[in-house]
């Protein structure tokens, strides 16, 4: 089983979480949590298992970003998701030297969220104009708070 092989390969990396997922509910066979600094090692291990990078995106929460990496395999059905919590203001290491396909995905995450990847060869905006001065998918937490407070006061 591929998921067992991946578990074995990820074992020595001391990750926060390596658990089997509930495929019928989430579409994941394996759920992994790692630190952003561990991502190059994780990507290397996934590549050695023959997985390809399906998608890379980010989620914006109040205290942190969560980078979400999806890996899948051409021969065997096994989708692995890796969540990496990144404190706001910090940089994550790139995996584009391992998966060249990550180059554009990381540019997209930078473009939409402003997350910077260290070691990326060409971290420019990709979807928005090069001279845009905002990152559109950042949530506006302060405004939400103010709104609910003003409602409570009214």
């Amino acid at each position: 089983m591929l998921s067992d092989d991946i578990r074995k390969a990820l074992g020595p990396l001391n990750l926060e979480k390596v658990e089997s997922g509930d495929y019928s509910k989430t579409g994941y066979h394996l759920e992994v949590a790692a630190k952003p600094a561990q991502m190059p090692e994780v990507a290397q291990a996934m590549l050695a298992q023959g997985c390809f990078l399906e998608s890379l995106t980010a989620l914006h929460f109040r205290e942190h970003f969560t980078l979400v990496y999806h890996f899948a395999h051409y021969d065997e059905l096994c989708r692995t998701v890796v969540h990496a919590m990144l404190p706001i203001g910090q940089k994550a290491p790139t995996i584009s030297h391992i998966y060249p396909g990550a180059n554009w995905y990381e540019r997209e995450v930078y473009d939409l969220f402003g997350v910077r990847f260290t070691g990326h060869p060409d971290l420019r905006r990709i979807l928005l104009p090069f001279d845009a001065d905002f990152h559109p998918l950042l949530k506006e937490f302060e405004e939400i708070v103010e709104e609910s407070e003003s409602k409570a006061n009214a």
Binding site: T26, Y28, L47, C51, F52, Y74, G101, L127
Partner: protein, 369 residues
């Protein structure tokens, strides 16, 4: 005596308004004589912020957006998004609805491939095939118009099924169309596949290895052209696909010619699926019972993948227990598929780049989202 001209590099701008880029795609080419030294695609001209829109409306309100991401195979996107939401709220789709989804989605796939066929060959300088395939494609648009109510940007599936049943006229029309298109393959082969100019323009051009497929996360006809039989319909069966008998055509060399052949053969496989689905079409409801009027999934996340005409479309939804999704990421196939262009374009001619771009089958609005 004339001195040989000094070799100089120059920059050539392909697009954004160029007939071979199918939408607004700009490729900045660094040239040395006739050869490309560096290619840098510049995307985003048609960015409509679909993912941002998703965060500002409820689940149902976002559904029509799905017809506008990849407008050529809109029903696959409808299906991917519906599947993700159905997974999120635990909704079971009745069998008849799944069959109808398969039939309409496969029809849509053929129409997408037919348009690609015409446009690709037009890029290579052949105008006539375009007229043939648009003649065929028109039949599909009429058929889909009948059930979905639109000829493009379909929004036909709903959470839990489909809103309108298919009728006998549609079924007869499908059968007539299957018969008609089967009779056309010979014409297509004679007109294009055996054409010596076409062969010279595509054989050995834009070769992609299996290794490159993996590194760039390519999907769809791009990997199948390179000999990897990766098709979500088989590898990660969804909807009613496990009940049909069909093959995954694969190429050998991973060149432009192979990607062409894969798509051409895929259309025949889609016809087979449609035929079987029409034969086995079960009776019953087309909509799940008890579809909640207000969709408010519990906190959690879900990833659902479908095989669209260009590759894997993945819909990643994160819910925080609200009526609006917290985040929707659309994993679109053309994005990864185009990202390999800088690597395979090096040392080719501009004319070859046009052939390669055509064989990637990019739909730029899908990349831009």
């Amino acid at each position: 005596m004339l001195e040989p001209l000094e070799e100089k590099r120059y920059v050539l701008n392909l697009g954004p308004q160029h007939p071979a880029t199918h939408g607004v795609l700009r490729v900045e080419l660094e040239m040395e004589g006739e050869f490309i030294v560096k290619a840098d695609p510049d995307i985003g001209y048609g960015h409509r912020a679909h993912e941002h829109m998703a965060e500002n409306r409820n689940y149902l309100q976002f559904l029509p957006n799905m017809g506008r991401v990849d407008y050529l195979h809109a029903l696959a996107y409808n299906q991917g998004y519906c599947m993700a939401v159905e997974k999120l709220i635990g909704l079971q789709v009745p069998e008849r609805a799944e069959y109808i989804r398969v039939i309409t989605s496969e029809l849509n796939r053929i129409s997408s491939h037919l348009l690609w066929f015409g446009a690709f060959l037009m890029d290579l300088g052949a105008f006539t095939p375009f007229l043939y395939c648009f003649d065929d494609r028109e039949n599909i648009l009429d058929l889909l118009d009948r059930v979905t109510g639109s000829r493009l940007t379909y929004c036909y599936y709903r959470f839990g099924g489909v809103p309108q049943d298919i009728d006998q006229e549609f079924i007869d029309g499908c059968r007539a169309f299957v018969k008609r298109l089967r009779g056309r393959w010979k014409d297509y082969d004679n007109l294009v596949t055996k054409n010596i100019i076409f062969i010279e323009r595509t054989k050995g051009i834009g070769v992609i290895t299996k290794e490159q497929c993996m590194l760039y996360g390519l999907t769809g006809p791009m990997v199948r052209g390179s000999g990897i039989p990766y098709d979500i319909r088989k590898k990660e069966p969804y909807s009613a696909y496990p009940q049909f008998d069909f093959e995954i055509p694969v190429g050998e060399n991973g060149d432009t010619m192979d990607r062409y052949l894969v798509r051409l053969r895929e259309m025949e496989q889609s016809l087979r699926i449609i035929e079987q689905a029409l034969d086995k079409l079960p009776n019953g409801p087309i909509m799940a019972e008890k579809v909640p009027k207000r969709i408010k999934p519990a906190a959690g996340e879900v990833y659902a993948a479908v095989e669209a005409a260009r590759g894997e479309f993945g819909c990643y939804i994160v819910s925080q227990g609200d009526v609006k999704p917290y985040r929707i990421k659309l994993r679109v196939p053309s994005y990864a598929n185009l990202s390999i262009l800088p690597e395979i374009a090096v040392d080719t001619l501009v004319a070859d780049l046009v052939a390669i771009l055509g064989s990637i089958d990019v739909v730029v609005p899908e990349i831009d989202r």
